[in-house]
Every structure is written in structure tokens, then in C-alpha cells.
């Protein structure tokens, strides 16, 4: 019975139990749909390559229809021209959307809503040309000379974006990648946290640890939940790749196989880093309500990482953008977006990944020791310092029988003084909402400023708020009733029953 096999059993349980939940399936579907929509919709809405419909009515030069089509072709837009007998019928066609713009008497354009500037330019140019043709005919110029004179010149329009080789659409794709990475790392990290706290508070951990070593339990839990997250990220990345390659109008260098593969690798690294920290911190909390107070700082760090990675997308050549792509704390979100923006030179991602992996290895040792020392403790929530002292071989004191070595009692945090956990949880909740709102508004504003796209900004802000809210719910958690057991008799004076 090896620890590895047992760890795998733990991982399988996590996979099975969690993949069964409707919440997981719903989040998977939503994320895939959102990413595919984000890639496909701009192409469909923008219509820079799509076909447009122009209606003609009233007194119109005979060549106007052809002129409009020719002008459209010159800028790569296919245009269908339709003639309408009556103004009423033509306007009805505009109102119901079957015609994008109506040309009335060759001197008025009618739109359903705001004028499409590109189409307006095409149609206006065509009207000018057909008017010139009319006047040239009157002046006796031959048709061939005139055509040669008026032949449209093809003009290319290029969006440079912030980075060479990447367009604003690529930046949007990188934004979305940041959101997806942050969401999955935060969500699955929080699952590890709540899972550890659930096992500790329901006391099942004592049954488990009587059969398997603590490190197998923690490693198995992190692996199982991580595989689930990897599945979600891989499916999302695959959907993004399929959407980007099958929709012919989309040309996004940021959404390519190699870039997405790196994103998956960085998810694994980022998740492993944060899940180890979350797992170790979760073992300090005695009750689900305390999870937030022990892991809160990490969540703040994670949100900040998200924030700066976001800001770095638009300016990947600044010094600070390079630094955060190397720091193991920020790299899991900052480096993949840097790769997506084509700003990372070849050895950079590999070296940063190695650095992060080394950090993870160190955290596993430290976190595993904290976990093993704290997870069986059944007093109030511990502090890291106490736990570390208890984990040291020279201080093996694990006061499992409810007796506390002096000093630990004094420095324990929430719940030690019997203050009600609900008020703690409530103020924590209020704080979370405030933090989430500020972060969401800040990110939304930043996104709008950088991408110039209000819809993406709103989406990013909403997603930010939703994620922070979701994490805080996972931590605060529904107050899980602990499994059966007699009321705790710990701490009572030693008495024997002598009822003869």
C-alpha cells in the first residue's frame, strides 16, 4: 500500500465527486461559450469582410449600382445592391434590417440607426463617381477614358495596436486569456482551500490520516482538483483554437496552438503554486468561517497579480512588465499573456517556468509540513507562526487532547475568545463586496482605457466581481454541519462516574 497509490485514490475521489456537481458542468459550458463568443463575435459584428446590402430608390443614375459594388470591392467589402420601386417599401426594408442603407434620389442616405462610416464612405464615393460619369458623358468623354480615369485605387487599412505583430483584437484575446487564467487558478485554488477546511471541520481527516500519510492526502487533493481544472482549461483552450481556425475572418496570432499550450502549462504552474499555499493555510482554520481570515491575504495577492498582468498587456516592453513575467508569484498570469502578445523571446518562458517550478517545490515542502502539523489540531484557528513552531522537529508538541501549551493560546486568532463567528463572517463579507467592487470597477476602467472597447470592459468588470464573490463564497462557505459525534468533552475536569 504505497503512499502514491493512496494519493491517487484521493485524487480520483476529488475528480469523481466534484465533476458530478452541476456547478462544475455549468461553469465549464459558460466558460467555453464565453471564449468562443469572444473570438467569433467581433468578426461577425464588425463585418469588415462580410456582405452588406444597399437599397436604391427614386431617381438614380443607371451606373450607380455598379459603382457602389466596385467601390465596395476596392476595400474588400461585398455589397448587394437592390432597387426598390417605392420609398415606403424601401424604408420598410431599412427598418427591418434587410437593407443596411437606402440611397434616395442619389442625394440622401437613410439608415436604421447610426450611420456606418465605412459604408457611408463607399456609397458617397460611388455617388460622386456616378455624378462625374454623368457629367463626363454630357461633356462627350469616351466611356473607356472615363473608366480609366475613375478606376478605384485599393487602400489597405491596418490596426497597429500597442505591439508590433499584434492587433487590438489580439490584445482583447490576451485580456480574455488573463481572465480565464485568473478565474481558473482562483476558483480551483479556492476549491483546495474549502476542501481542506471541510475535511478538517467535519473531522473526517482523522479517519483518513489513520490510513494514509498527510502528504499523500494533501498531494492527492491538489492533484485531483488540479486535473479537474486542467480539464476545464484544456477544453476552453481547444474551443478557442477551433473557433480561431474555423472562423475564416478571424486572424489572431494571439490565439495559436503554441500560445494556448503555454497557457495550459502556466495554468498548471499557477494552480500548483497557489493551491499548495491554499491547502497549507486551509489546515489552519478550524471552521469554514475561518478559512477567509487565514487565506484572505493570498486572495488579495492573487487579485493584485491579475490586476498588474492586465495592465502589462498594453505595454509589454516596459521594465515592470518584464519583471512581473519573471516573478514566480505573478508569472503564471503575466507570462502567458506576454507570450500571447509575442513579447517573450524564446528562452524567457522556459526559464520563468523553471523558476516557478522551483518555487513550487519549496512551497510543497513548507506547505506539507504546515499541513501535517495543523490539520489534526482541534482548538481554535491557528496562526502560521505557531504551526511552524509545532512543525519543527525540536518542538513536536501537537496538543491533540485539547490541552494547549502556554503561548499558543495567547496568539490564536479568531474564535479564541468565543466571539461569535457570524459577526466576523459578516464584516468579512462586507469587506469582500467592497474589495470586489473596487477591483471590478478599476479593472473595467483600465480595460476600457487600454482596449477602447466598452463591452469588453463591462465584461471584464462583471467577471472580476463574479470571481471575487465566488471565491469569498467558497471560503465563507455554507456552514457545513459536522458529521455525527458526541458533544465535545474536551476541557472538562477529569471526573469519573461512580454511580453505583
Amino acid at each position: 500500500m504505497s503512499g502514491v497509490r493512496q494519493g491517487w485514490l484521493v485524487a480520483k475521489r476529488e475528480l469523481r465527486e466534484r465533476s458530478r456537481s452541476r456547478a462544475f458542468l455549468a461553469s465549464l459550458v459558460i466558460m467555453v461559450a464565453a471564449v468562443v463568443a469572444a473570438i467569433a463575435l467581433p468578426g461577425l459584428i464588425d463585418g469588415s469582410g462580410g456582405s452588406r446590402d444597399v437599397g436604391l430608390t427614386g431617381v438614380t443614375p443607371a451606373a450607380l449600382g455598379d459603382a457602389i459594388a466596385a467601390q465596395g470591392q476596392a476595400v474588400g467589402t461585398e455589397i448587394d445592391v437592390r432597387d426598390y420601386d417605392t420609398l415606403v417599401g424601401a424604408e420598410q426594408a431599412v427598418r427591418n434590417g434587410s437593407v443596411d442603407v437606402l440611397v434616395v434620389d442619389a442625394d440622401r442616405l437613410e439608415w436604421q440607426g447610426r450611420a456606418d462610416e465605412q459604408l457611408e464612405a463607399i456609397v458617397t464615393a460611388a455617388i460622386q463617381i456616378s455624378a462625374v460619369q454623368g457629367r463626363a458623358d454630357a461633356a462627350g468623354m469616351s466611356a473607356g477614358d472615363l473608366d480609366a480615369l475613375l478606376a478605384p485605387v485599393a487602400v489597405d487599412s491596418v490596426e497597429l495596436g500597442h505591439v508590433a505583430g499584434r492587433s487590438p483584437d489580439d490584445e482583447t484575446a490576451a485580456f480574455i486569456m488573463t481572465v480565464v487564467l485568473f478565474m481558473t487558478i482562483a476558483t480551483y485554488g479556492a476549491m483546495v482551500l474549502s476542501g481542506v477546511v471541510e475535511e478538517k471541520s467535519s473531522r473526517v481527516v482523522e479517519v483518513l490520516l489513520s490510513r494514509i500519510p498527510a502528504r499523500s492526502l494533501l498531494a492527492g487533493k491538489i492533484t485531483g482538483i488540479g486535473l479537474l481544472g486542467l480539464g476545464q482549461v484544456a477544453v476552453t483552450a481547444l474551443a478557442a483554437l477551433v473557433a480561431a481556425t474555423t472562423i475564416s475572418d478571424v486572424d489572431l496570432p494571439a490565439v495559436r496552438g503554441s500560445v494556448l499550450l503555454w497557457a495550459v502549462v502556466w495554468f498548471v504552474l499557477g494552480y500548483a503554486l497557489y493551491a499548495t499555499v491554499f491547502g497549507a493555510l486551509g489546515s489552519l482554520a478550524s471552521r469554514p468561517e475561518d478559512a477567509q481570515s487565514v487565506a484572505g491575504p493570498v486572495s488579495v495577492v492573487l487579485v493584485l497579480v491579475y490586476f498588474v498582468s492586465f495592465a502589462a498587456i498594453g505595454s509589454p516592453d516596459t521594465t515592470w512588465a518584464r519583471v512581473i513575467a519573471w516573478l514566480p508569484i505573478t508569472a503564471p498570469i503575466a507570462m502567458p499573456t506576454r507570450i500571447a502578445m509575442g513579447a517573450a523571446a524564446w528562452p524567457e518562458p522556459v526559464l520563468a517556468a523553471a523558476l516557478t517550478a522551483a518555487t513550487i517545490a519549496g512551497l510543497v515542502v513548507v506547505g506539507g509540513r504546515v499541513y501535517a502539523a495543523a490539520v489534526l489540531h482541534d482548538g481554535p484557528t491557528l496562526t502560521l507562526r505557531d504551526t511552524w513552531q509545532r512543525a519543527r522537529p525540536s518542538h513536536p508538541a501537537r496538543h491533540l487532547d485539547g490541552s494547549r501549551p502556554a503561548g499558543i493560546a495567547d496568539s490564536s486568532t479568531v474564535g479564541d475568545d468565543g466571539s461569535d463567528g457570524t459577526s466576523v463572517a459578516r464584516t468579512g463579507r462586507g469587506k469582500t463586496v467592497a474589495v470586489a467592487l473596487v477591483a471590478a470597477l478599476g479593472l473595467a476602467a483600465l480595460t476600457v482605457a487600454l482596449s477602447g472597447d466598452v463591452i469588453v470592459g463591462v465584461a471584464v468588470g462583471t467577471a472580476t466581481y463574479a470571481v471575487i464573490d465566488r471565491i469569498s463564497t467558497a471560503w465563507g462557505g455554507p456552514n457545513e454541519p459536522s458529521a455525527p459525534g458526541p458533544p465535545a468533552e474536551r476541557g472538562t475536569e477529569p471526573t469519573t462516574t461512580h454511580n453505583t
Binding site: M1, R203, D401, G485, R490, T492
Partner: protein, 298 residues
């Protein structure tokens, strides 16, 4: 010291508190050993030491004369005092999971789980979440979790705590059955009178020290004190007048006398019969509680 659980000078301190103080005792296969003592005496700490949940400061816990390994623990069963399982996991899945942590054959675990669920009338609840079950049924699931790997050693921390009289009987029958099949059974209790008839061997611990250990009937017989319990009708006489006996306790229609084992019981019986309308008369060695009091009061 074969096929048994042995504590040898096991010592453990939590700060200034000495939870285990050079504890030495054994639990033998095929027998039910009661590990008894007041709350806070060190029972839970000792039991956790068997499973490596507590690291001893000194001394050792051995199984079959050797240090206990992870493989050994795969053949142990443990029901902690703080009961706990996954509240939201289905009953059968949960038991199969806990069982498979100990053994390689999932199908054998599945069969064992189904057998136990059937025995406790829980087959119909196999696919329910644990928290949908009543408190009593959750306790049964917890017990199955400790027994599902057919353990050679089963350690139960306060298994009788919170049980009604019928459940106490069922539990003690179950323990007898498990021990009868050859397993070593060690259970703890702070309610000495409740479990007096369950244990064959007892280990009594107080303030971390073992104060009494051995075959319960031997221990009771070896003490010089004997007791006579009398139930009678009508007006009670002056029981202090019975020769060679000392009145310990008297209530309506009942009296308890103490004497040494040298005193002729027939003689006592005759004088008691003369003094009152006797309904019941029993002569026996001290109860477990009295043994305990003798042991802790020097």
C-alpha cells in the same frame, strides 16, 4: 509478545501537561480490552499514537513485537472520538473509498460494504448523502468505516458514548463477534459501569499513568474486598449491626455491605435473612469503579 498491540513506556507531553506517562500495557488478539479512565486521562492520545497521529516523546507502540508501519495500519480499523465523514458524499461511495485506502481489491471492499450495509438495514440508504441520514444511522456508517477492511486490530474511541441501552447491547455484541473472529479489540470509555460487562481485559489510566491492567475477573478476584447487595421488603433493620460487615450504602429497600473475602458468606446470609424480608442477595467482588477508586487512592 506475538499478534498483539503493546505499549512500552509510551510517553507524551503537551507543553507542561504529561498526557502519557511511561504507559505499558498490551491488548491481546481474540479479546476485548477496555481502555478506561476519566476524561483527560490520556486515552485518546494513546489511541492516536497507534495510528501515528501523535508522535511519542518516548517509548514505543508495537504490533506483533515490531514498530507499526503504514502497511500494518492498512489492517487496522479506527473510530475516532470525534466522529467524522464527508457529510455530502454518498454512503456507499464513501465507505468503498475509505475501504479502498486500505486494500488493493475494490470489488472485495464493495462486497464487504454491501454486507455491512445489509446487516445494519442501510442497504436502501446506500446512495443517499451521509447528511440525509439520522444521527444513529450516521454512527452506524462510521462504525462500518472502521470495520470495512476486516481489521486485525480495531481501536474505538468512546464507542458507547451517546448510545441508548439497546444500541449499547448491539455494540457490545458486535465487539464480541469481531473479537471472536480473532481480532484484537481495544475500546475506550470513561463510563466504567456502562462497559463493565463488555470487557474481558481492562487497562485503567489516570493522569497519563496506567493504574490497573489485566483480566477483569482476575483483578476483581484478587482484591480482598467483597460486597453483598441486598434487596428487601418492609422496614429495614439496622444494617450496621451485621457482624463482620460494614455498611457502604443504604437506600429504600436496598443495602450494600462490604467485608473481606475471608468472611464466611453463609454466616452473613443467615444474619441478613434473619434481620429482614430478603428479596435478593448477591455476593460479589468489587465493581470496576470501586477497583478504579482503590487504584487511584493510595
Amino acid at each position: 509478545m506475538n499478534a498483539s498491540l503493546a505499549f512500552t513506556a509510551a510517553t507524551k507531553s503537551f507543553g507542561a501537561l504529561r498526557a502519557l506517562d511511561a504507559c505499558t500495557f498490551t491488548a491481546e488478539p481474540g479479546r476485548i480490552t477496555g481502555f478506561l479512565g476519566p476524561n483527560g486521562a490520556g486515552k485518546t492520545t494513546a489511541m492516536r499514537a497507534v495510528f501515528g497521529l501523535v508522535e511519542l516523546d518516548g517509548g514505543a507502540v508495537t504490533w506483533n513485537g515490531r514498530a507499526i508501519t503504514v502497511d500494518d495500519r492498512a489492517r487496522f480499523g479506527y473510530m475516532p472520538e470525534e466522529r467524522g465523514l464527508y457529510p455530502r458524499m454518498r454512503v456507499r461511495d464513501q465507505l468503498v473509498y475509505l475501504g479502498s485506502l486500505c486494500t488493493r481489491s475494490t470489488s472485495a471492499v464493495g462486497r464487504a460494504v454491501d454486507d455491512w450495509l445489509g446487516r445494519f438495514d442501510l442497504t436502501s440508504r446506500a446512495d443517499d448523502r451521509l447528511d440525509a441520514l439520522s444521527h444513529g444511522n450516521q454512527q452506524r456508517v462510521q462504525l462500518i468505516a472502521a470495520l470495512v477492511n476486516e481489521p486485525e486490530l480495531i481501536v474505538l474511541d468512546e464507542p458507547f458514548s451517546g448510545l441508548d441501552p439497546l444500541a449499547v447491547t448491539n455494540m457490545s455484541e458486535l465487539l464480541s463477534e469481531v473479537a471472536g473472529a480473532g481480532a484484537t479489540v481495544l475500546f475506550s470509555s470513561h463510563q466504567l459501569d456502562l462497559v463493565e460487562h463488555v470487557c474481558e481485559d481492562v487497562v485503567v489510566i489516570d493522569h497519563g499513568r496506567i493504574v490497573l491492567a489485566g483480566d477483569l475477573e482476575e483483578l476483581r478476584a484478587s482484591v480482598p474486598d467483597r460486597f453483598v447487595d441486598i434487596a428487601y421488603r418492609g422496614v429495614g433493620p439496622d444494617w450496621t449491626a451485621v457482624p463482620d460487615a460494614e455498611l457502604v450504602d443504604a437506600a429504600d429497600g436496598r443495602a450494600r455491605l462490604r467485608m473481606t473475602r475471608d468472611v464466611d458468606v453463609a454466616h452473613i446470609a443467615a444474619s441478613v435473612d434473619q434481620a429482614a424480608d430478603v428479596v435478593a442477595f448477591t455476593y460479589q467482588p468489587p465493581t470496576l469503579s470501586e477497583l478504579f477508586r482503590r487504584a487511584v487512592q493510595p
